[in-house]
């Protein structure tokens, strides 16, 4: 067996064990642990559904309002929540780096995989539950949906890795994360589509890779919506760029992580 393959097997084993462990620590602490993962996005959807109702607004292009909001919030969370969990991977798990073959990257991969899996289930539960009360479940192109969700998750992991490594060098990362990323909630297409905004605004908005992911998911989900501006290649470029920066930083700070 080549050493590369053996290394990959060790890493796979470690990530698997970490993901199982994260499941316990993330959801096992409260009696309603798993339920909270579902309730939080549900509350977001409920709130904005209320806004839409008050403002007499409809979801655009014949989309149903609850799936419309769900397909916005879930990909967004898949990117941002994964990035947040990833950025705290070292601080929350210092004890784990005690074991020589557990690396920062494994912690981020395990946390990311758990977020992506959880949010995918949440999306299916919400839209499935909604379908019970309406005309039925519609999913136009599952592969396109999966691509959008997967890219959002990978983007979150790559961003989390950069933040995590930068966090070892300076404490200010935690402080700038809020002001830097919270605005993304309003400009990532959670409540609108790229097709529906003015061209000049759109040109700027399309620099945001999360908007592309949301557009891809909606395009795949709704037979009536066609995302003209979604570009998977653009998101992949972001992921590759961030991963390169993140991995380089991680190598640089590796010897600086204080275990004790």
């Amino acid at each position: 067996m080549s050493s590369l393959l053996r290394g990959a097997l060790v890493q796979l084993r470690v990530v698997h064990a970490l993901a199982l462990r994260e499941t316990r620590t993330r959801f096992g602490a409260h009696r309603l642990g798993y339920l909270w993962a579902l309730l939080e996005p549900l509350l977001w959807i409920g709130t904005f559904w209320g806004f839409f109702a008050i403002a007499h607004r409809q979801a655009p292009d014949g989309m149903d309002v609850v799936p419309f909001l769900a397909t916005g919030i879930i990909p967004y969370s898949m990117a941002m929540q994964t990035a947040e969990k990833g950025s705290q991977a070292i601080n929350g798990n210092k004890a784990l780096l005690f074991y020589p073959h557990v690396h920062t990257l494994d912690l981020i991969l395990a946390r990311g995989a758990l977020e992506v899996a959880t949010l995918t289930v949440v999306l299916l539960v919400i839209t499935g539950g909604w379908a019970l009360f309406t005309e039925g479940f519609v999913l136009d192109d599952a592969l396109r949906v999966a691509t959008g969700l997967g890219l959002a998750g990978l983007f979150g992991m790559a961003l989390g890795l950069v933040l995590c490594a930068a966090g070892v060098m300076t404490n200010s990362v935690d402080r700038i994360r809020g002001p830097l990323f919270r605005p993304l909630f309003w400009i990532s297409g959670l409540f609108f589509t790229a097709n529906a905004i003015p061209t000049r605004v759109r040109e700027i908005m399309l620099y945001n890779p999360i908007l592309h992911c949301v557009e891809m998911v909606r395009d795949g989900w709704f037979p009536t919506y066609h995302a003209r501006y979604a570009d998977p290649g653009y998101v992949v470029l972001w992921i590759v760029g961030l991963a390169f920066v993140g991995l380089t930083l991680e190598r640089k700070v590796r010897s600086k992580v204080q275990l004790t």
Partner: protein, 250 residues
């Protein structure tokens, strides 16, 4: 033309990405399991008061089925050396060559997640080392003798209970090299007896490296001794000789 004194960014990037001690260095045996070699290992901690050289160009070889004790005062860098031997920390310069499976530094508590139970922690460690989960859990439970606490969160444990579990867990997994950090304080005398017996049994096929600031511990467990002082490691074949040198220090 002016020669550039500092390396350019491309060069530094290249150096950063050069292959080093990656995750595969902790992988299963290649040849002569149970030996570790240090070549010019240096570790420097940067503090506000300036650079502090903890390990200074250490060359050493720990052979198969040897049990070596490393003596040193508090703060001499014993735990750092152990973490570098295990691979949890990287040296600033030099290389560590490991043959065989090396344990994590076995000591008081490190590596347990407080919100998980002792059993869950054992399952996790068994998984990452690809050991038989049921066997590891059962062995650790029987060895630690902490009763009902085994199923309770580790944060409710006393430090003695943590150490018992940590010790039992590390004994449950077959390592070629055991790295041990200050075993003396673990448990009462009957538990210590058990540790001595467990080690004696392991010593037939594995090597043990123990760091301590107490000569008594080293005498009990080891047949060779080294002294770590001022960043240098000095090896003695005879423990009495080391004892003389160590006592002369104070």
């Amino acid at each position: 033309m002016i020669a550039r004194a500092t390396p350019g960014w491309a060069e530094r990037l290249q150096r950063l990405w050069a292959p080093g001690d990656g995750p595969s260095s902790a992988a299963p045996p290649i040849d002569a399991p149970g030996s570790i070699e240090l070549r010019g290992v240096t570790k420097v901690y940067r503090t506000h008061a300036g650079d502090h050289v903890v390990l200074d160009r250490i060359d050493a070889r720990f052979d198969q089925t040897e049990s070596v004790g490393i003596l040193g005062r508090n703060g001499a860098g014993k735990s750092t050396l152990l973490r570098i031997l295990g691979g949890a920390e990287q040296p600033d310069a030099g290389r560590v060559l490991r043959h065989g499976r090396v344990s994590w530094p076995i000591g008081f508590s490190g590596g347990f997640n407080g919100s998980l139970s002792g059993e869950e922690n054992c399952r996790f460690v068994a998984r990452i080392y690809a050991a038989d989960i049921d066997y590891v859990v059962e062995y650790a439970r029987a060895f630690a003798e902490i009763g009902e606490y085994f199923r309770m969160p580790v944060r409710t444990y006393s430090s003695g209970m943590r150490a018992r579990l940590a010790f039992g867990l590390s004994m449950a997994i077959d390592f070629d090299v055991y790295l041990v950090d200050e075993v003396t304080a673990v448990g009462d005398s009957s538990f210590q007896e058990k540790c001595v017996r467990a080690f004696a049994e392991r010593r037939e096929r594995s090597s043990v490296i123990i760091v301590s600031h107490q000569l008594g511990t080293i005498r009990k467990y080891c047949d060779k001794c080294a002294i770590l002082r001022r960043g240098r490691l000095e090896l003695f074949d005879d423990i009495d000789e080391a004892a003389k040198s160590y006592e002369a220090m104070s």
